[in-house]
Amino acid sequence: MLRVVPILFGAAFTVLTCLAAGLLLLRQLRLSFDRAEELLFGFLTGAACVSTAVFFLCVVHQARTGVFVAAGVALMTAALWCRIPPGAARKLLPTSKWIYFLLLGSIFLLYFFIALAPEVSPDGSGYHLGNVIRTYEQHGFAWDFQSLYAWFPQGLEMLFLVAYSLGGMPAAAMIHLAFLCALAGLLVCYGRRFGVPRAGLFAAVLVFASPVVGLVGASAYNDIALATCIYAVFYLTEVMQEESNAKLLSLLGLLAGFCYSIKYTGWIAMPYAAIALRRRRMMPFVSSAAAVALPWAIRNWIWVGNPFAPLLTKWFPNPFYSADLEAAYLSDLRHVEGFHHWWEWPLDLTIYGAKLPGFLGPVFLLAPLALLSLRLPQGRKLLAASVVFSLPFALNPAARFLVPGLPFLALAMGLAMQNSPAVLPALAAFHTVLAIPAVMPVYCADWAWRIRSMPVRVALGLDPGDSYLQRFIPDYWIKAAIEKYVAKSQTIFSFDTRPDAYLDRRIVVGYESSEGSRIGEALSRGESPKRYGIDFVLVNDRDFTSEAIKDNAKSIGLTALEQRNGTTLYRVD
């Protein structure tokens, strides 16, 4: 049980630090939100500020636990000292709110234990937390580590870093879960503010209980944080059309910039907000957006020579990542197999999750009903936003890339069905039941990417985490093997990504950098990778050169040390 204390402390400390920073900012801007909105926008804008501050700490290599604690305590004290007056009270929610709150609460429990358990998500245990741990160990950015995943903006990882320094990996996942809760809160607040409370409550449940949203939201990913900030941008543009308060522009810019700093695909939030705010003075918006987004572009420009690394390499050629590698990477992301008819796509995205990673839940098959909301101006805006923010799905067809457009779609569905008696609570309850791990196998593919159980005992530390990790991370055995064979100063080459967060060694991955690509090609030609400074090689049976490497291992100078789950660890002699 003691395992839980630092995790919860780390997560709570980070969330409260963000909240304190945001509330101080809202106080400075003297904005009029109600109590719930104040907390939600306080958290999100504070997160943008704290993330940017941690970025600069990483640049000067002062990202240390002590610095985080001192800054956090100072911010919290200042927020308490300032005695921020409570926001205005707003209209009450309908009595049916308890049904929705009960549904949200029950599914939250599941996510809470998933987040509390050791991180097992592929990208979370891979590069998201891999980057965080590398940064934490060096108290700043690891400038000598070249990988496309290290060049992506890491706005959310900056918050993970604070949480990780106090509570370890699950604390980082808890931060992402906090963003998911904020998204549900924003949907409820939107409904209340704009006169569609039942649609807001319904959308909150629909998004919160969506299988892919839950899985990603309870892991150390960044998609849900992006969706939350995008939704907050939309919310503020709607508030601006209602109130026309110029001070909101800075807040809006901050959040739009934060979208970019969380994930490249978040750049759409900036032009979207700019178009929605046409004919207004844009300076406060542009300057605050730039304050949050530009540092990442400048970092990459100085570090790699490409402000948008690893993308747009043709425009910004550099020695670390070639245009060919970028093209291969992007085409790999877009590559999908197994669809024979167009109608298989919506079925796979909502029910099966067999060919694309993740699924949204069967209730989203009723999405065409949202078209009925086109008769309302609000519905038209929501559907337009849903389409715009779902565009990145075309570049990476995975269900989680639809999540930024999902809150808008869910709200539009709620709007379309809000006058139908009893439909919204019934559908919300059905959706929640379908999101229970024991129910999901009834309709989805066996191998679909989803939450498979509620690991209460592992989360509370009553069962050892190792067996849980071995069950969900096939490569986890490598940890013991490399600790046995590989010295800390030695380097490993791998054709595929590995669970970086658990492997305390430098791993050069074939497709992640030009250096990796050169080593991979050398191995394919039957040359020893020793001259590239590689001491060990990890090869999967499914790697296209695995057979050749196996056959010519002796001539290349490789000695197989251990083999498990289709992966072999070789020593370079």
């Binding site: 069967p362 139908s420 008696p421 009893a422 009834v442 989805c444």
Partner: protein
């Protein structure tokens, strides 16, 4: 005149009911009915719900399970829910409308004498007409009984305007969605068969005289569900359905 017409309508209803019952007793089991029994009535309710063809008839199968359990398996007991649906339909729908529908759609008569969801769906529609406060749920059950009903009901809703869509069509659609989405998610392509009414009648004629004999019977896959049904219906445990050294070979 009014009384006369009411009396004639009542007489027509009784005649229609009589014809339905007669057809239910005498008509040989169809391939579709045999498959319904084999896939959805015979297994447990849970297994039936997850069967590949559950989406097309699991509501009917739930009722047929009760009637077959109560009165032992036969063509009539398998079709009893359809007959009961016919009685409900005639009782619930205002007589003139029912008369008109019967007059205009003679096929409706056969829907109440055959083990499919059509009759059940029609009965739910009649109930929706009578009890309009719960009409959306009843129409949802009609669609769940026979998903093809979604099309005419959808057209009626669209023609009736936004109010009907919001108050009736959407709740009905959601009710049907809740009941059908899991079976639909497991749906497989329906089995194509060349078995027609002539073959169905021939199977019964061929098997009836074999009652009481211990035999090895071979049958092509197309008519296996029919043979299985008659084996269970006639309680012929001694019949062995096998391709190995058969004593009776059914082939068409």
């Amino acid at each position: 005149m009014e009384r006369l017409s009411t009396a004639s309508i009542k007489a027509f209803f009784l005649a229609a009911l009589g014809v339905s019952v007669y057809l239910a007793i005498t008509r040989p089991l169809t391939f579709g009915e045999a498959t319904l029994w084999n896939d959805l009535v015979r297994p447990s309710a849970r297994a039936a719900f997850f069967a590949p063809d559950a989406w097309s008839g699991w509501l009917y199968a739930l009722l047929a399970k009760r009637t077959v359990g109560l009165f032992r398996l036969s063509e009539l007991t398998l079709r009893l829910p359809a007959i009961l649906a016919g009685i409900c339909y005639l009782a619930l729908l205002p007589r003139r409308q029912a008369f008109l529908i019967f007059g205009a759609v003679p096929v409706a008569l056969s829907w109440f004498s055959i083990a499919t969801g059509y009759g059940l769906a029609l009965a739910f529609c009649a109930a929706a007409w009578r009890w309009q406060r719960v009409a959306p749920i009843l129409l949802g059950l009609a669609i769940a009984s026979s998903p093809v009903f979604a099309l005419p009901l959808g057209i009626v809703a669209v023609v009736s305007g936004l109010g009907a869509i919001e108050k009736v069509a959407i709740p009905a659609l959601v009710t049907a969605f809740v009941l059908l989405i899991v079976p639909l998610s497991r749906a497989a392509e329906p089995v194509k068969t060349s078995v027609g009414s002539r073959e169905e009648a021939a199977v019964r004629s061929a098997l009836q005289p074999l009652r009481g004999q211990a035999l090895r019977i071979s049958a092509p896959p197309d008519i296996l569900p029919l043979v299985e049904f008659y084996k269970a219906s006639y309680r012929q445990r001694q019949w062995q359905i096998t391709d190995r050294d058969p004593q009776v070979r059914l082939a068409f």
